[in-house]
């Protein structure tokens, strides 16, 4: 009976975890502007009452 070693299981997970981790890191990096950048007003500001 040939038993799978825990090391082979860990290595197998590592093989897929490396690209996954890289992709996750890139996604987090890409999402940073969402939390750091300012934004323009959603709609044009209404004219002041005096100008209506």
């Amino acid at each position: 009976m040939k038993k799978s070693s825990p090391l082979s299981v860990a290595l197998a997970f590592l093989v897929v975890a490396i690209p996954l981790g890289w992709g996750f890191y890139r996604s987090v990096k890409n999402s940073l502007p969402l939390f750091t950048a300012g934004r323009a007003p959603a709609v044009a500001p209404a004219p002041p009452p005096a100008a209506r």
Partner: protein
């Protein structure tokens, strides 16, 4: 070589750890999930001749590229999964995953040749048709294998595999961008060479999965697992063949469940960037960040929610997806009215996590209702709901918001009606889910573990 790929050669010997199967499944799903990130090639492909800008008369247009690659690939995925499901069950995961790698990576090579010739039909033949067959085979084979290895945790197992598919864009999109950057020259946008390198890398990764995947021996059960101890009303110990499953109302109800869940989610996912910009006036850069965040939640939700379904039961978790999703959709116009981007982002992230979870939980739901023997084939047929939803969702969001704008609704409010419609679609899914009952025993195969007569004839 062929004997190495046969199902008989993949039966696990005693002592094999079933935990080697999830990485095998993720390896395949992560590669084929690249289709979700294909949009990074859209713009470069429209500049294949003009390089710095698209030449109106000679270069392809974005809709043409999307149709020939992304749309065709997803449609063929559904068809391949539906028509080849029983072949997948008969031949086993190793042969199927190898065939998937040949089709998907071969498709990238053919598409590269098409880019070199600047012939969109060749690109469609490669990425759309051949690649689509690879997608269909690679999508169902690992899932069906995992369901058989993890009868005690089917939701977690399918969640892991389908999380791999969801992560395909997170990995594939930046990988494609990096490669195009390296291969770009004054005379080439670098897409053709990128496809070739991706084909080679994906072939290695997918066949890593092919090498380590195994099927459990007949009658295998995890140590200490007693099916009766985990008995639930909707979890059967009987087996239903794929053809017989299609004669049950449960099959069509689950088809409706998946279609509604995907339609509601994919509509937002496909339009996330313009929606965020239109509703809140954020810059394209920030909207891009929002899309990146959604892809993380889409990936993590697949594993988290599907794993939770092992404790709650599948029907209950879909009630959560639909009711919570419906409520959150209803709050999106509120976030727009109070101009809160943070609330909008939080709402959509949870919605998208449940969109991914809908994909991840459905194989376990199928296994609960129909057993494990032909769950891959049944899953393949259910996947057609995805193909329908992939057309419906984005069409509803795009056309309805355009209609609203054309009728004078301010740009920022043009999505409000759409999100209410999405909430309604989720309610329709909820009704389908609530109608699900255990499969009538007359549909069960005569002997547990064997498909019904005539079921394995093709």
């Amino acid at each position: 070589m062929s004997s190495f790929l046969d199902r008989e050669r993949t039966v696990a010997s005693p002592g094999f750890s079933r935990w080697l199967v999830p990485p095998a499944a993720i390896a395949v799903q992560m590669c084929i999930g690249e289709i979700y990130g294909f949009s990074v090639f859209n713009l470069p492909l429209t500049r294949a001749i003009g390089i710095t800008q698209s030449l109106p008369d000679r270069d392809w247009k974005v809709p043409q590229v999307v149709l020939a690659t992304y749309s065709l690939g997803l449609v063929i995925l559904g068809l391949a999964a539906a028509f080849l499901g029983k072949w997948v069950e008969r031949e086993g995961p190793r042969k199927t995953m190898f065939a998937s790698s040949c089709c998907f990576c071969g498709g990238l090579v053919v598409a590269s040749f098409g880019v070199h010739l600047h012939n969109l039909a060749v690109v469609a033949l490669g990425y759309g048709l051949l690649g689509g067959i690879g997608l269909g085979l690679g999508y169902i084979a690992p899932v069906s294998t995992l369901v058989k290895w993890f009868p005690d945790k089917p939701g977690m197992a399918t969640g892991l595999a389908i999380m791999g598919f969801g992560s395909g864009a997170m990995v594939g999109a930046p990988f494609g961008v990096e490669l195009m950057g390296r291969f770009r020259t004054p005379t080439s946008v670098g897409v053709g060479a990128t496809f070739l390198v991706m084909a080679a890398c994906y072939f290695v990764m997918m066949n890593f999965g092919t090498l380590i995947v195994r099927v459990p021996p007949p009658g295998w059960q995890p140590e200490g697992f007693a099916p009766s101890a985990q008995a639930r009303k909707l979890v059967t110990t009987a087996q239903v063949a794929a053809d017989e499953a299609m004669r049950t109302p449960q099959f069509y109800l689950l088809w409706g469940v998946l279609c509604c869940n995907v339609t509601a989610g994919i509509g937002i996912l496909a339009q996330a960037s313009p929606m965020c910009q239109d509703m809140f006036g954020v810059s394209p850069l920030v909207a891009g960040g929002f899309v990146g965040l959604l892809s993380i939640f889409n990936t993590l939700g697949r594993f988290a929610w599907s794993s939770a379904s092992d404790f709650t039961g599948r029907k209950a978790i879909y009630v959560v997806y639909f009711l919570l999703g419906c409520s959150l959709y209803g709050l999106i116009p509120v976030s727009q009215r109070i101009n809160s981007v943070a609330l909008f982002v939080a709402l959509t992230c949870v919605i998208i996590s449940m969109y991914g979870a809908g994909f991840a939980t459905i194989p376990a739901y199928l296994r609960d209702l129909f057993g494990t023997v032909q769950v891959g084939a049944i899953h393949g047929r259910i996947i057609t709901a995805w193909s329908v939803a992939a057309v419906l969702g984005p069409q509803i969001v795009t056309n309805l918001s355009a209609y609203q704008r054309a009728h004078g609704v301010p740009r920022a409010e043009a999505y409000n009606t759409t999100v209410y419609i999405m909430a309604g679609i989720l309610l329709a899914g909820l009704i389908c889910n609530l109608l699900v009952r255990p499969v009538d025993p007359r549909h069960h195969a005569a002997e547990a573990g064997a498909p019904a007569a005539g079921a394995a004839s093709t």
